[in-house]
């Protein structure tokens, strides 16, 4: 990014540095806001269909374009040409604002993601906090959509969405906190720089917590309660169609990509990989490729999960967050903090071992507590699992 | 190998942990609890033997100087009192015996308390907790580096003995466990007696320690025994004696209580009310051994006193020991309870140990302590096995005959008989124990007892006159005869002749968890004597004889084997054993006892234990109780309280007069008038409360506005 600015100033002398910077950033945000969503949605809907089809022993899209690669565009065209229906009793302003807000919220996350060496919208000091904070906008959008539709299923979906999103935001914060502790910074760039060993290997428990909670946060199967067809039709966006629905759709996939990108950045070393550096264009490109590949891998895992597991019940869903992930996260944060402050930890290798140990201890502790609680549980099945009777 | 020493603090820790774990967590799970207890003591045994090994390999230096560990414990003025652990040859020798015997007893207890059987003891787990604590106390005592830790362990043992002797003191009399009400009360009395009696000794020891600490500024054994410290103590005069003698006597007082020496021996026979493994534990490895151990540990103090005083404490040790040895052996002749006989035997044998120590020979006393531990544990466990068998027989008989039986005491020797056929393993083991106790070559008891007698004999011959060692020797030899006599009687009554009761007829051999420890201990009873056999060069002497050398007052050479002494005592022993056996082999129930025929009124005296218990009851307990009631009456009824009440009554009269004045003027006019005024005001103002928060808030806002305005204006 800096290199580009310098190049611009050097090539077109009349440009001041400030102006050059403005131009570059405007261009970058334009790419993020307009180009990236389309590409991402098209690419990953296609990928999702293919992957799910393979898991279900089908072929998947294969008509539009070679191997069906153009399927996404076809869908987009279909969606944009559909009639745009607004319910009669809807609160129009809010109803129209909601999908925009949902998409914007997802796109805003990209502002702080270091997608390639040196390429980052704004390397905020409190970058991770920003990521979490922006997540809240999505909740507002869901609420607005659900409320303004004047539809009981939509409202129920909104309730569910908010309960679920709030519940899973906490384990996300805790998992991120573990990373922040380990990296010693909240700046995403610095976190990437701190990952000589990817944090997934250093903090496996935090990685798992974040992965699971992210799936819930973006509301994908097996946590897709907010749009469970069998219960509440399509949840908060049941009344939406056409363009507005497309916005929700785009928002969802952007959110998916953003979450995977955050996981990549925090746990898989972001753009890091052999030869990736901000020195040369090649290095930058390589870094971008690494980032995309890693992110795609994470998304693939999410798709795999979607294809494999069935949807769980709403109360189980919340129980899982409050009674398992949150305590686990708390224990983990404490354990990581203690491990980092141990006087004996004075070399990177020892640090690694101490952190791994902290993870193992946290997981074990949680398991013990859970099994103890399960023994006392009123549910016979739980007790049987814990071997109490 | 020296790193093994760092395990020393763990040796008492394991049983202690077992205690804590059982009491706090696992007391509901019987098998688990006893497994924990046995496992912990087994670990302790392994560690103790490792420490012993390290001491053996460490050579002269370690055996004499020892290893130690200090922990700062108690800040005292400008100094700090340390606690710690120490190991030397003496400790190591004790560490060989104590945990091992405990282990055997623990294993045995599993069978004795009837694990897994329908009539298993209801407080099974608790029992194992207590005996673990007991073992922890003894092990702590042995590895203590200083007197405070020693005293702590000492008292823990006292507590455990209280708990365990009274173990059966609070359940309902029931047929299932052969408990009757009388026994419940007996157990409870015995426990109290044991605790209070030993407590008297403990307080003496406590005073001794406090004095020692006052005068030397240390409680660490090794530092007390420094020649210069001992010299200081010799020069200070206290109550007309050198301080060292006073302290030694106080310490000995503690040992008298704990080791059941003459004036304070009364608790030990009553302690039989506890379960048999407890008796074995108390008599062999732990409680009573502690007293002897203490005297042996403090021997330099006694010997230092020997050099300066007219009536040295050391002589008192020997005299008390001799008296106890004879006393115990003679009372033992006239008891019917199988365990009581053994109890008096213990008292007598402890007397022997004290005799040995009183003659200044550390090794002789301790050697006897070690061998005695093995064979007395064996005898007690054997007796327990017999009782167990007879109880079972009684059970079977009662079921078979459908007679709801008369009161039956399974401990009564006169109800047994002919058990050698029914309980062959027990019999063999018991026989080995008897031979060891009586002192027949080559059993362990022979070597150790002989060494004490030889020591006395040697000292007598060295002097020539009829001095103290002569009397000690005489008492010892006589005691040996009586020992043989009552053991012969016991063998005859228990194992020979016809069964004298249906219970004995139906008796059966005990489970293997009981017989295996018996066999193991029997092997030790047979072989252990050789660790200090003269013809092997008295290895124990070399191992631990030098422990007190640093204090420059204790000598350690072994007295050479003296054939005369050995011959006399062996002949007497064999004679006594045969005599007792012959007389009682064919004893029939109801028949007048052969001894009574011979001894007449003396037998009655012996049977009633010289009336010492009754004496104490009259001379000590009743006056104390009377005194306490007397004091209470002074306090509450006669003098102090009535006086107080009188003063109070006078004040009340005066106040009544003022009260009348007060209630009319002050109260009626002033106080109530004020109250009414405020009441009226409150009634008027209440309508300003609308109950709407926004009204109130508006008032607040207006007020703030006004205040701000004022602020700006001025």
């Amino acid at each position: 990014m800096e290199a580009l600015i310098r190049w611009l100033v050097d090539t077109f002398p009349p440009l001041s540095e400030a102006l050059a910077r403005l131009i570059v950033y405007v261009l970058y945000s334009g790419v993020l806001a307009f180009v990236a969503p389309v590409l991402i949605v098209v690419a990953y809907t296609y990928m999702e269909r293919k992957v799910l089809a393979r898991i279900q022993d089908r072929v998947g899209p294969n008509r539009a374009g070679p191997l069906g690669v153009l399927q996404g565009f076809a869908d987009a065209v279909k969606m944009l040409t559909k009639e745009d229906v607004t319910p009669a009793c809807a609160d129009r302003v809010v109803f129209n604002l909601a999908p925009v807000l949902a998409t914007v919220a997802a796109i805003l996350v990209f502002a702080v993601l270091p997608v390639a060496p040196g390429v980052i919208g704004a390397d905020l000091q409190a970058g991770v906090l920003y990521v979490v904070a922006i997540g809240a906008l999505g909740e507002v959008a869901a609420l607005m959509a659900g409320w303004s539709s004047d539809n009981k299923f939509a409202l129920l979906g909104a309730f569910r969405a908010v309960a679920q999103l709030i519940a899973y935001e906490i384990p996300i914060v805790l998992a991120i906190l573990a990373v922040v502790l380990a990296a010693g910074s909240m700046q995403l760039g610095a976190i990437v720089a701190a990952q000589d060993i990817p944090f997934a290997l250093v903090l496996p428990v935090a990685f798992l917590v974040l992965l699971v909670a992210s799936i819930a946060e973006i509301g994908r199967s097996p946590f897709d309660l907010l749009e469970a067809e069998s219960e509440i039709v399509a949840g908060y966006h049941v009344e939406y169609s056409g363009m507005k629905f497309a916005f929700f759709f785009i928002g969802e996939y952007m959110h998916l990509f953003a979450s995977a990108g955050v996981i990549t950045t925090l746990f898989l070393g972001g753009w890091r990989g052999p030869l990736a550096s901000s020195d040369s264009l090649l290095g930058v490109l390589l870094g971008f490729i690494y980032f995309v590949v890693k992110t795609t891998a994470v998304i693939w895992i999410m798709m795999w999960v979607r294809g494999t597991l069935f949807r769980i019940r709403i109360d189980h869903l919340l129980d899982f967050a409050w009674k398992f992930l949150v305590p686990l996260g708390l224990i983990l944060v404490v354990a990581v903090a203690v491990a980092l402050k141990l006087p004996a930890v004075n070399s990177p290798a020892l640090r690694w071992i101490a952190l791994l140990g902290a993870n193992v201890i946290a997981a074990l502790l949680m398991m013990i507590v859970i099994s103890l609680l399960a023994r006392r549980s009123r549910s016979a099945a739980l007790r049987a699992v814990a071997g109490a009777d | 190998m020296d790193f093994l020493f760092s395990f020393t603090p763990l040796i008492p820790l394991f049983p202690l942990l077992a205690f804590a774990v059982i009491v706090l967590f696992t007391y509901r799970y019987n098998r688990l609890s006893s497994d924990i207890a046995i496992g912990s003591i087994a670990l302790s045994t392994v560690l103790a033997w490792a420490v012993l090994l390290a001491t053996l390999l460490g050579g002269e230096h370690i055996q004499v100087e020892g290893w130690q560990l200090r922990v700062p414990w108690l800040p005292a003025g400008t100094t700090v009192l340390d606690l710690g652990f120490a190991v030397d040859g003496f400790t190591a020798a004790m560490l060989f015996m104590v945990p091992f015997v405990c282990l055997m007893i623990f294993i045995y207890s599993q069978g004795y308390m009837k694990l897994g059987q329908p009539d298993q003891d209801p407080r099974y787990a608790r029992f194992f907790a207590y005996i673990s604590l007991f073992a922890a106390g003894m092990l702590g005592l042995v590895v203590a580096r200083d007197l405070v830790l020693l005293f702590v362990s000492w008292e823990i043992m006292g507590l455990c003995s209280y708990l365990l002797i009274g173990f059966w003191s609070f359940r309902k009399a029931d047929d299932e466990h052969h408990i009757d009400e009388a026994q419940v009360i007996r157990a409870r009395k015995a426990a109290l007696k044991a605790f209070i009696t030993t407590r008297i000794g403990d307080v003496l020891l406590f005073s001794g320690i406090a004095l020692l600490y006052s005068y030397t500024g240390t409680v660490t054994l090794r530092e007390i025994f420094r020649p210069e410290t001992l010299e200081t103590l010799q020069t200070i005069s206290l109550l007309g004696m050198p301080a060292v003698t006073v302290i030694a006597l106080l310490v000995f007082g503690g040992a008298v209580g704990k080791s059941a020496q003459f004036p304070l021996h009364v608790w030990l026979p009553d302690a039989m009310e506890g379960p048999t493994p407890v008796s074995a534990l108390i008599h062999a490895a732990t409680m009573v051994a502690a007293g002897v151990y203490l005297v042996a540990r403090m021997l330099p103090l006694f010997i230092a006193g020997f050099e300066v005083a007219d009536a040295p404490a050391l002589h008192w040790v020997a005299i008390v020991g001799a008296i106890t040895a004879l006393l115990g052996a003679t009372i033992g002749l006239a008891q019917d309870d199988i365990k009581r006989v053994l109890a008096y035997s213990t008292i007598s044998q402890l007397g022997y140990m004290m005799m040995g120590l009183g003659l200044g020979s550390l090794v002789a006393g301790i050697f006897h302590l070690l061998t005695h531990a093995f064979f007395k544990a064996l005898l007690f466990l054997g007796a327990g096995s017999v009782i167990h068998g007879v109880e079972h027989g009684h059970h079977v008989a009662a079921h078979a005959d459908h007679v709801h039986t008369e009161h039956f005491n399974p401990n009564d020797m006169k109800a047994m008989g002919g058990l050698r056929h029914r309980m062959p393993y027990t019999f063999v083991a018991y026989l080995a124990g008897t031979l060891a106790l009586v002192g027949i070559v080559p059993f362990a008891g022979f070597w150790s007892k002989d060494e004490i007698l030889a020591e006395a004999f040697h000292l007598w011959r060295a002097d020539g006159a009829l001095n103290l060692p002569f009397w000690v020797w005489l008492a010892g030899t006589l005691g040996a005869f009586f020992t043989a006599l009552y053991m012969g009687r016991q063998l005859g009554l228990v194992f020979w002749g016809e069964p004298r009761h249906t219970a004995a007829r139906h008796a059966h051999e005990s489970p293997s968890s009981m017989t295996i420890p018996l066999i193991v201990l029997a092997l030790f009873a047979l072989l252990f004597g050789f660790v200090n056999a003269p013809f092997l060069g008295s290895p124990l002497h070399h191992f631990m004889g030098g422990v007190h050398e640093a204090s420059e007052v204790v000598h350690a050479e072994a007295v050479p084997f003296n054939f005369t002494v050995a011959a006399i005592s062996t002949v007497l022993a064999v004679a006594g054993l045969l005599l007792g056996w012959l007389l009682y082999r064919n004893y029939r129930p109801g028949q007048v006892e052969p001894f009574q025929v011979v001894l007449g009124p003396v037998f009655t005296l012996l049977r009633n234990k010289y009336y010492i218990d009754e004496l104490y009851q009259q001379v000590i307990i009743r006056p104390v109780v009377w005194l306490s009631n007397f004091c209470f009456n002074i306090d509450d009824r006669w003098i102090i309280d009535p006086f107080v009440d009188l003063v109070g009554a006078a004040g009340r009269v005066a106040s009544d007069i003022v009260r009348v004045l007060d209630s009319v003027v002050v109260d009626r006019w002033f106080v109530e008038g004020t109250a009414q005024l405020f009441n009226a005001a409150g009634r008027g103002l209440r309508y300003s409360e609308t109950g709407r928060v926004q009204n109130y808030l508006l008032v607040v806002a207006v007020t703030i506005l006004l205040l701000l305005g004022l602020y700006l204006y001025f």
Binding site: - | P75, G77, E155, F170, L204, F206, Y213, S628
Partner: protein, 513 residues
């Protein structure tokens, strides 16, 4: 240290009393909750103060000073050192536990009870932290009234509560009036009420007759509170009549006020007189010890028994104090021996508070179930109530001085000092230890727990309709006892944390004399 620890510790309970008084009396649950919650900050703060107190500094810490009554020259002056700090902690701990316990057992006039109890706490803590004689005296009296009411109102009807309460009140009042006169006499010669300054000014040095009178006047006040024979007869009555929590605080803290006064005021003000009269006071201590134990043995009422045992145990404290005060010529470092004796005395106060407080709680446990304390009515309870047996046994053993538990440490130190400094007294005093074992094991353990359990007798005294918790110790009772047991074991096994603080202060105090 700017944070006003002591003021907060002292006055938060007072605030609590006010708050409790403002809650309507019907809201019993809220009253109980609020009362307990208001006692917790003091506990936490006193613990923090203890931890912050530099272990090896003997001087007064957390000093706060403010002008208070200028016309009297009286200051609000508070501070603590290693002697008072454990006692402050003891007070806060026992009060919190008492309130917690009472919130389950007090059924009558709940609001008044809790308000008074909090007021009592303020009074007691105030005595321990006050460094001004006027302040000291006022707090001394503040504690008196609530206790009087606690005994009088919530006492068991069969124990003549009004009689006991008035007896307690008058006894103490006689002593405190004498003390006040002596204080005024001291002020006349020194011109200050400052407890820390007066020793340096040698009060009443020019007037030996008045000095002796003042000495005995102050001694009388403290001896009544301790209580020493022959001023002890209020104690068994008051203890017996008081409700459980009242007995706990009475034994656990109020007796310590006297002991603390002896160390803080009597000893530094009149060291020479104390030394001169030490033999006499020593005799009183011995009589208290042995006489108390003997009378205790004659009791058939469990609470009276423990009350008399307090007389005996506080006798140990006096013996230690006397040993420290009367340094005879002995050929070893006298300061160390004296410090040990005084350490033992202070620790004995702390231990006695913990242990006897615990014993009274435990009496409450059985009393709440059976409404009798007659030893002859029990028997064999260990099978029925095993947890209760275990806890009671541990506490009783701590009381009789079993090594490994708290009581032993202080007894050992007291006797260690006494044997070095006043051997004759020590030798006589040892008898009390044996008697202690006798009355505790014979009377308490044996009569209550051992022996045969009789179902008929139990049916007579126990009515399940009146007791809603489990038969064995209920959870709140276990929670109440747990901290006390913890301290018994902690002090018994590793006394250094407590003793370091005490030791520094006593050493400094003795060095000053």
């Amino acid at each position: 240290m700017n944070f006003p620890f002591l003021t907060l510790i002292t006055f938060i309970p007072l605030l609590g009393a006010v708050v409790v008084a403002l809650i309507p009396g019907r809201r019993e649950r809220e009253i109980k909750l609020v009362a307990v919650l208001f006692s917790v900050p003091s506990l936490v703060l006193s613990l923090i103060a203890w931890l912050l107190y530099a272990q090896n500094a003997g001087e007064i810490k957390f000093l706060e000073e403010a002008t208070w009554i200028p016309t009297l020259n009286a200051y609000y002056r508070v501070g603590v050192d290693g002697i008072s700090l454990p006692l402050v902690f003891l007070t806060t701990l026992l009060t919190t536990l008492s309130l917690f316990y009472s919130s389950y057992t007090i059924k009558k006039r709940v609001k008044e009870f809790f308000a008074l109890f909090l007021l009592l706490e303020t009074g007691m803590i105030g005595v321990f932290v006050a460094l001004d004689l006027v302040l000291f005296y006022i707090f001394w009296e503040v504690g008196l009234v609530p206790m009087f009411l606690l005994i009088g109102i919530w006492g068991q009807p069969q124990d003549r509560p009004q009689y006991s309460a008035i007896k307690f009140f008058l006894y103490t009042l006689v002593g405190s009036v004498a003390m006040l006169l002596a204080f005024i006499a001291i002020y006349m010669t020194t011109g200050t009420w400052n407890i820390l300054q007066i020793p340096g000014l040698k009060p009443l040095a020019g007037n030996p007759g008045l000095a002796i009178a003042a000495f005995w006047a102050i001694f009388l006040a403290f001896a009544i509170k301790v209580p020493s024979w022959p001023f002890h007869t209020w104690l068994p009555d008051a203890h017996t009549a008081a409700p459980t929590a009242g007995s706990v605080v009475l034994a656990g803290v109020l007796l310590k006020l006297g002991g603390y006064g002896m160390i803080r005021i009597l000893l530094p003000f009149f060291p020479d007189l104390f030394k001169q009269f030490a033999p006499w006071i020593g005799v009183l201590a011995l009589i208290s010890m042995i006489y108390g134990a003997l009378v205790s043995m004659a009791q058939w009422d469990l609470k009276r028994l423990i009350a008399y045992s307090s007389v005996s145990h506080m006798g140990f404290f006096m013996l230690g104090l006397v040993a420290a005060a009367a340094s005879l010529e002995v050929a070893n470092p006298v300061l160390t021996s004296r410090a040990i004796a005084l350490n033992g005395a202070v620790l004995q106060m702390f231990n006695h508070g913990i242990i006897t407080g615990g014993l009274f709680f435990l009496v409450g446990v059985i009393y709440e179930r059976t409404h009798t304390r007659d030893l002859k009515a029990f028997g064999g309870l260990s099978a029925k109530m095993p947890v209760y047996y275990g806890v009671m046994l541990t506490t009783a053993l701590a009381s009789l001085g079993l090594p490994g538990l708290a009581g032993f440490i202080s007894e050992f130190m007291v006797f260690r000092g006494a044997f070095a400094l006043i051997p004759t007294y020590a030798i006589i005093g040892v008898v009390a230890i044996v008697l202690g074992a006798a009355y505790i094991l014979w009377k308490i353990v044996q009569h209550v727990f051992l022996g045969e359990f009789s179902e008929e007798r139990w049916q007579e005294i126990f009515n399940p309709a009146h007791w809603h918790f489990s038969l064995d110790m209920a959870r709140f009772e276990v929670i109440t006892m747990a901290p006390l047991l913890f301290f018994m074991v902690l002090v018994g096994i590793y006394p250094a944390p407590v003793l370091n603080v005490i030791n520094a202060a006593t050493t400094a105090l003795l060095a000053m004399l």
